[in-house]
Amino acid sequence: MTATTGPVLVLGAASDMGRAIARRYAEAGRALILAARSPERLEADAADLRLRWNTNVRLAAFDALDTADHGAFLDRLGVLPDTVVCVVGLLGDQGESERDFAAARLVLDSNLTGPASILGEIATRMEARGSGTIIGVSSVAGERGRASNYVYGAAKAGLTAFLSGLRNRLSKAGVSVITVKPGFVRTRMTEGMALPGLLTADPDEVARAVLAAQAKGRDVIYVRPVWRLIMLIIRLLPETVFKRTKL
């Protein structure tokens, strides 16, 4: 059922997680299409992947926010990839999102509307073909809205639900959908934040988890298993208690 030989499309390939995921797929011998807003910035990464792994790498311009172009973007690729990994996202600044709805909208669009548009289009095409894997990187932040980042959390909650629905819809069509919840990851997005070591993964750890999840046919994964327990507890806290916490 899971295609493991055809090309892999990485959406958001300029991010730390996108780069790490591309590397691991190249190592596994998969051809790659790296999609990012400014693909010329990925020339060096593409050269590196070709040199190290003798793999076929293409670059493609992709703007998650330009939803009107998403169908055409897929047409331009000329090939429907076997595997699509969506790492598109924007943490944003919660305070700014509270003051200015335009900032909040950008967070919602980057994490939910954009990914929903492109993944929805890909899902329909994969459904017609009868094969494929869609891997969406969501977040533990989507499991319960917290004062510190609920706009981002709301968008990720939406993405998690969207991926869950896609999985449900496509389960009989030969298309797999995997939801990845990384927890804290050391990336440019979190640089300068004090992150607890035992709960924080490196981008490469996320990449290995993604490939392992695909190989094992998993549905939902937490990159570090401890997060499953943490989020269970956070979800189980009664609202009367939860609303007074500082998380």
């Binding site: 730390d16 910035r41 060096a44 990464d45 050269a47 590196d48 040199l51 190290r52 440019r188 640089e191």
Partner: protein, 439 residues
């Protein structure tokens, strides 16, 4: 966060930033603070630490181009030597010069102008660099090399990052038929014998000796000499000949915890040395490149065997004409101090021209000691012997020498300083080491 070199001494609170792209590095350089670039942190002391800003180049780890016609590889400064070996040995290429660990970056190898077991034949790593891109204090990036701004290039080789941030480099790999080394082991009863053996081994591509620093009297300087050549396909056993470049690498083990500080002492090291000497029966063997060049890399975090206080490496070189007397004086001082050096390595360097490059024609001795007050007392005695004989210490290993010894050992230092000042590099590129040594 606390940063240190591989010796875990000293540890300095500093700000570490990761450069993923050239733009990141430019931002760090023009940020109004002094800084130093850092590779994989394998310099032993404080060379790649700056409390204000230390820029990790590990995010710039991309290989960019390779020309199979002449073996020229272009890559970013943060590429690990291990990655180069993993990718290129199976294709029949080998680094022209390699230090005793593969866990170093290309930028670090140039900044320390590292040498290997083939120094007497191949020179140092910088001798094989065709060009490099250097980020200067004002945010400009310039390309330099042996025939393009050669003064800046010469100062950058061995310049410990004090002339700018090395962003990319092009250097030539050498072709090999196999991933194996034909190794000969020879036993030398004392210092005179090992020195004669080195001189007789001038035609061998690789040569290095383990020396027993605790042996005294007529056995002082007893050593095992290892010399090697890249094996040809017809020298391999028949079953291996069909895949001569396919070397199965060992899985690295991690030292699970810090050893207690007393684990390595005069007696345990003495016992080890005796055993090692006895096991070093003269023989010829065929071993894979990993075992020959990187025996310690299979023990990840081996620096923890010295426990929490950390350790310090001491590597000096003495001019050829006075090497015999100088080595005798060093070994006498070490033997009578009773400090245990677990790893002691002797090697004969060939000729080397350079500004801040460490090698010079003569013998180099590398030792490591636990960081302790007794050690630092002994090292001061060794400093005096090195200075008296016109030798010098290796900056990539140093964590504690004084500015006077540096000045005596590196006569081109004034020129190096003048170049840094003239180009405005001295205001920005500084490390704990450069401050200590008043560079």
């Amino acid at each position: 966060m606390k940063l240190s070199g591989w010796g875990r001494f000293p540890r300095v609170e500093s700000r570490l930033a990761l450069a993923r792209t050239q733009d990141d590095a430019v931002r760090a350089v023009t940020g109004g603070r002094t800084l130093i670039a850092r590779g994989n942190g394998r310099a032993y002391g404080d060379a790649a630490v700056n409390p204000h800003a230390t820029v990790s180049m590990l995010g710039m780890g991309r290989m960019l181009a390779f020309d199979p016609a002449d073996g020229a590889l272009t890559c970013e400064a943060g590429v690990l030597l291990k990655d180069i070996l993993d990718v290129f040995v199976p294709r029949g290429w080998f680094p022209p010069v390699t230090p005793g660990t593969k866990m170093v970056t290309v930028g670090g190898m140039i900044a320390a102008d590292v040498h290997g077991k083939n120094h007497h034949i191949a020179g140092s790593f910088g001798d094989h660099v065709l060009s490099l891109d250097l980020l200067l204090a004002d945010g400009r990036v310039v390309t330099c090399g042996p025939d393009r701004d050669p003064e800046l290039f010469a100062a950058t080789r061995g310049g410990m990052g004090l002339t700018g941030v090395i962003l990319r480099a092009t250097f030539r790999l050498i072709p090999v038929e196999t991933g194996y080394i034909r190794q000969e082991t020879l036993r030398a009863e004392n210092l005179d014998v090992i020195m004669a053996m080195f001189e007789e081994s001038a035609d061998w591509t690789y040569s290095v000796a383990w020396i027993d620093c605790l042996a005294r009297g007529p056995r002082m300087g007893r050593s095992l000499l290892f010399r090697g050549e890249h094996a040809r396909v017809d020298e391999l056993p028949v079953p291996v000949r069909s895949a001569p470049l396919d070397v199965r690498l060992r899985h690295a083990r991690t030292i699970p915890l810090d050893f207690p500080a007393f684990a390595l002492n005069h007696w345990s090291v003495g016992a080890f040395n005796e055993l090692y000497w006895r096991m070093g029966t003269p023989r010829e063997t065929l071993i894979d490149y990993d075992r020959f060049f990187y025996p310690l890399d299979s023990l990840l975090e081996w620096n923890r065997i010295y426990g929490r206080p950390g350790f310090t490496q001491y590597q000096c070189v003495l001019p050829a004409s006075v090497s015999a007397a100088g080595l005798r004086a060093l070994l006498t001082a070490i033997g009578s101090a009773g400090n245990a050096s677990f790893l002691a390595v002797l090697k004969l360097f060939g000729r080397q021209d350079g500004v801040m490059s460490f090698p010079m024609e003569g013998y180099t001795l590398a030792l490591d000691f636990p960081a302790s007050s007794a050690t630092f007392g002994l090292l001061l005695d060794l400093d005096a012997i090195v200075a008296d004989h016109g030798g010098r210490l290796y900056l990539a290993k140093d964590a504690r020498m004084g500015a006077g010894l540096l000045r005596r050992g590196y006569p081109a230092l004034d020129g190096f300083q003048a170049l840094r000042a003239a180009r405005g590099l001295d205001r920005v590129f500084r490390s704990v080491q450069s401050e200590r040594l008043a560079i």
